[in-house]
Amino acid sequence: MLEVNSISKKFGDFQAVNNVSFKVDQGEVLGFLGPNGAGKSTTMKMITGFLDVTEGDATICGKSILNETLEAQRNLGYVPENAPLYEDMFVLEFLEFVGKMRSLDKEANKIRVIEVINMCALKDVEFQKIETLSKGYKRRVSLAQALIHDPKVLILDEPTDGLDPNQKHDVRVLIRELAKEKCILISTHILEEVEEVCDRCIIIGEGEKLFEGTPNELKSKSSKGRIQDVFRAITTDQKLQGVNL
C-alpha cells in the first residue's frame, strides 16, 4: 500500500537521501533505522508530501504523492518528529479540528474523537491545554491526531521517543493492534522496539539504504544475537567481533 520508488533529496549540494526504495504492505510494520542525520525524517517528509522530492516518487494506496498529493494525503496519518502541536488549543478541540480538516462529518467526528481518546489513553487530559501537557501526553495527542480519520497508511517518526517504559509498552501494543489492517512505517533508535513491533526493517546511513530484512535476519548476523552490534557494523563499516555481514 505504501511504495517508495528510488526517492532522493538534495539540499543544495548536500545529498540527504539517495535513491531509497521500499514497499510496505497491509498488515505490516516496517522499522526505519539509521544513525542521527541518516535521512530518516527527510524521507518521511517526502513520503507525506511535506517536502518535494528531488527525484523519484512515492505512492500511497496507489496515489502518487507527486501528482495526486491531496488524494494520497487523505489515506495518510503522520506523526512528525518531536510531535509538534498547536499548543494553545485544548486536546479535545484540537482533535475535533483535525477531524474536520480530514473531512469527517460532525457526528462521525464526535464518535471518532472519543474512540481515539480512548485508544491513546487521553481521557484524563481531554480538557487540558496542549501546552500544559507532559512530553509523553503530547506524543500521544500527536498519535491520536494521526489516527482520527482511520488512515490506511501510518508514518510515525520516533513515536516512542520520550515516553516512560509503561507508555512505550502501551504504544507498542497499540501499534501491533493497528498493524492488523494498516501499513505502518516507524522510525526509531530503540533496537528492542524493532524486534518487538516490526515485521521487517531497513537501515539507512548517509541517505543510502544499507540493509533490508527481518529483525531475525539482522540478529542472526551476530553470533551473540546482539542487534546493536550488527547495527554498528552496518552503519559504521567497523569490523566487530562475532558479526558476520
Binding site: 539540499f11 543544495g12 517528509k45 507525506t48 508530501g49 511535506f50 517536502l51 518535494d52 491531496l70 488524494e71 494525503q73 487523505r74 495518510l76 503522520y78 512528525p80 518528529e81 518531536n82 509538534p84 502541536l85 498547536y86 499548543e87 494553545d88 488549543m89 479540528f97 483535525v98 474536520k100 480538516m101 480530514r102 473531512s103 491526531q145
Partner: protein, 248 residues
C-alpha cells in the same frame, strides 16, 4: 465560503485570536490608541476642527496600522514554521493556496472586528451633529481594505522567515515605504537613482494616496481595485515562498 477546508481552517485561526492574549492586547491598544489620537489636544484634533466628522479619526488609521498590523501578521506563518506545526497542517489534505487564503481571511476579519469596535466614535459624531454617513462608511471601507493590503504584506514576510521579530521589522519597513510612497521625501530619494517612469510607478503604489482619496469621501472603484490587487499579489507571493520551502 464554499470551500469547507478553507472554512474549517478559517474558524480555527479566527477563534485563536479570541483565545490568546495577542487578540486582546491588540484590541485594547488599537481602541485606546485610535481614541486618544482622535481626541488628543493638538492641532488637527477632533475638537480643534469644530466639525462633526471623523476626519481626524481616519487620518491616524494608517499610522496605527503601521505598527499594529505587523504584530498580527507576524505569527501567521513564522510561528507554524518555528514550532513545526506547519508539518501537521501541510500533510493534511490542504493546499498551500487554501491555507494562505484561510489564514489571511481570519486575520482580516479579526481586524474588521477591531474596526467595528470603534462604533462609539460614529455615535459621538452623530450625536454632536450631522455627519455625512456616506463619507464615514467610505472611511471604514478604505480602512478595512488598507488593513487587508498591509496584512497581506505581513503574511508574505511571515512566510519568508521563521523569526517573528524579523518578520515584524520587515513588515513595518515595507509598509512604511508603501504608505509613504507618494510623499516628496521618498519620491525625491527614489528619483536620485531611477528614471522618471519608475518614480511615477512608485508614486502610484502609494497606499496613503489611495486611502486619503477614499477617506475624503471620493468613491472610486480604482482605489478598491488598488487594494484588492495588492492583496492578491502579496498572497500570491506567500504561496510562492511556501512552495519554495517545500523544495529546499
Amino acid at each position: 465560503m464554499k470551500d469547507k477546508t478553507i472554512r474549517n481552517l478559517f474558524c480555527k485561526e479566527f477563534t485563536n485570536y479570541l483565545k490568546t492574549p495577542l487578540g486582546y492586547v491588540f484590541l485594547v491598544i488599537f481602541l485606546f490608541g485610535i481614541g486618544y489620537l482622535t481626541f488628543e489636544p493638538g492641532r488637527g484634533s477632533f475638537f480643534y476642527m469644530r466639525e462633526a466628522s471623523l476626519v481626524s479619526f481616519f487620518r491616524y488609521m494608517p499610522w496605527m496600522f503601521l505598527f499594529l498590523i505587523p504584530a498580527v501578521s507576524m505569527r501567521l506563518w513564522s510561528d507554524e514554521r518555528k514550532s513545526g506545526t506547519i508539518e501537521l497542517l501541510l500533510t493534511m489534505p490542504v493546499t498551500i493556496r487554501q491555507a494562505v487564503i484561510a489564514k489571511f481571511l481570519a486575520s482580516w476579519v479579526f481586524i474588521g472586528v477591531a474596526l467595528s469596535g470603534t462604533f462609539p466614535m460614529v455615535l459621538t459624531v452623530v450625536y454632536l451633529g450631522n455627519p455625512d454617513l456616506g463619507v464615514v462608511f467610505l472611511g471604514y471601507l478604505a480602512s478595512f481594505f488598507m488593513a487587508g493590503a498591509l496584512l497581506a504584506v505581513g503574511g508574505f514576510f511571515s512566510a519568508l522567515t521563521k523569526n517573528q521579530v524579523i518578520s515584524f521589522i520587515l513588515t513595518v519597513c515595507v509598509s512604511f515605504l508603501l504608505i509613504m510612497a507618494g510623499s516628496p521625501p521618498v519620491l525625491d530619494f527614489i528619483s536620485t537613482f531611477s528614471p522618471k517612469y519608475l518614480v511615477a510607478i512608485f508614486e502610484s503604489l502609494s497606499v496613503l494616496n489611495h486611502f486619503d482619496s477614499m477617506e475624503r469621501g471620493v468613491f472610486s472603484l480604482s482605489n478598491l481595485w488598488f487594494f484588492t490587487i495588492m492583496i492578491i499579489c502579496w498572497l500570491y507571493g506567500s504561496i510562492i515562498l511556501l512552495n519554495g520551502n517545500k523544495a529546499s
